[in-house]
Amino acid sequence: MFNNLSDKLDKALHVLKGHGSITEVNVAETLKEVRRALLDADVNFKIAKQFTNTVKEKALGQNVLTTLQPGQLMVKIVKDELTQLMGGDAEGINLSGTPSVILMSGLQGSGKTTFSGKLANYLKNKKTKKPLLVACDVYRPAAIDQLHVVGEQINVEVFSDRGNNDPVAIAQAGVAYAKANGFNVVIIDTAGRLAVDEAMMTEISNIHKAIQPQETLFVVDSMTGQDAVNTAKAFNDILNFDGVILTKLDGDTRGGAAISIKSVVNKPIKFIGTGEKMEAIDVFYPSRMADRILGM
């Protein structure tokens, strides 16, 4: 019946407003609705609980109960809190290395290869960099071909070694190739992997140690549900990554996973993917994301 959080909040706040004298009990009732709406937006169960507790304290602290329009103030508190939780202003990419090495990581199908291309294209056109793409997925059928097609589309060279089954060696060779040939950014595409796959997690940890990237990015599908926290935490434990990429935001998902991930690893969300084409990349704006989650 209620399609989004703002509808639900309106409804909940309507309840709140309807009471002549508003009590702490009414606020609790309202926050239950807020929590439910967050869960519908795929915010993690525990984090939704924590969040509503914080909002409750703020609401009581700001005397939401005595203002003339408690509803509006509540919406503002919820939105501000969400925005703050997701980070401050948009954060860029660390390009201090010579070359700057960027390592992609994430689950299967999250959008790593596509985003590698988008980022290369962005750095080439917007930051006048000379990027090299390195194909370290030796498992997925035609993964190397896919990266080559992407490279052709954006006119960026792709380093690959088809006979080689060792992603660590390919990554190192790619970085060496970049140094020898005047590339100033190296983007390493890796295979998708599950956090519970120990061998594969060790592999990416070894790549990470071998090439010591300036930026390690965790690429996550914005449609992800409750599991987002587990995955983000497991990848962060192994890689201590620098930032998060949220893909497929051209869909209609609320994207509550963004809050969950940010709360659990406290790393900035740096870019978003908004389509399959190479131009479909944007920097992340916390307040826009808060609006989206709230359906505003």
Partner: protein
């Protein structure tokens, strides 16, 4: 001793398990209400009994459409070729699932033909070709950028000519809110019917097991565009539980047929609702 009260605490825990398995608030409340009704008379019962009731109630939501007894990969008799079309949003595991299914059908001695109707995504055709080579089945393809409906048409023609048993058509991943791309899918389906008038016999919607509540919208829009007849849930070898399919199966009355449990050729299983429910509590 051994008896525990089905009190608020028990129900709160249950809520947490279900919600964190992506079952969703609506379906979770539905399950909890049904349990509350059943325990209203006998308020005290053991954890084992509670688990049994829970299993039954959740399986009940799936039961209209899932017998829960199939263990074999079967295709219905009397359709030759039996035409499957595989659809879903980007990156969920369509192409991989097709490779695994082709392998299962081939093992049964069936002649399988694959159709590479994803002509859009980088190296999508090469990827399906690798799977066709692995399984050793023919593939029908055109060049990148060609009309997917035309590829599907060619595939069916070829399958009919070669007297094939099963045709599986791969399609490009597309987000369900993109009207043009969804219309394209409707067209692919329509064009197939010029060759086999009741094709496709099965429209398999692939859902990524780690997807949250957005899967509902996916099921809704793909059903509107192609009349989805079965579901596959992939990537259940990870920590995600895929609970959202319970509500989807219940609401749209579509059976869950397969689950993906890895990237290998044999990592596909016939869906078993009891094992599925049990996995939430592991």
């Amino acid at each position: 001793a051994g008896k525990s009260k089905v009190d608020d605490e028990v129900l709160d825990n249950l809520e947490e398990v279900l919600v964190t398995s992506d079952v969703g608030v609506n379906t979770t409340l539905k399950v909890i209400e049904r349990i509350e009704e059943r325990v209203a008379k006998d308020k005290y019962l053991g954890t084992d009994e509670l688990n049994q009731i829970l299993r039954e109630e959740i399986a009940g939501l799936l039961s209209e459409t899932n017998s829960g007894e199939d263990t074999e990969f079967t295709i219905p008799e009397g359709k030759k070729p039996y035409v499957m079309m595989v659809v879903g949003v980007n990156g969920v595991g369509k192409t991989t699932t097709i490779g695994k299914l082709a392998s299962q059908f081939k093992k049964q001695g069936l002649n399988v033909v694959l159709g590479a109707a994803d002509t859009f995504r980088a190296a999508a055709i090469d990827q399906l070709q690798v799977w066709a080579d692995r399984v050793d089945v023919p593939i029908v393809k055109q060049s990148m950028g060609s009309d997917p409906a035309s590829v599907a048409f060619d595939t069916l023609k070829s399958a009919v000519a070669s007297d094939a048993d099963v045709v599986i058509i791969d399609t490009a991943g597309r987000l369900h809110n993109k009207v043009n791309l969804m219309n394209e899918l409707t067209k692919v389906k329509r064009v197939m019917q010029k060759v086999v008038d009741d094709a496709p016999h099965d429209v398999l919607l692939v859902l990524d097991g780690s997807t949250g509540q957005n899967a509902f919208e996916q099921a809704k829009q793909f059903t509107a565009a192609t009349e989805v007849t079965s579901l596959a849930v992939t990537k259940l070898d990870g920590t995600a539980k895929g609970g959202v399919v319970i509500g989807i199966s219940d609401q749209f009355q579509i059976p869950v047929k397969y689950i993906g449990v890895g990237e290998g050729i044999d990592d596909l299983q016939v869906f078993n609702k009891y094992e599925f429910v049990d996995s939430f509590f592991k």
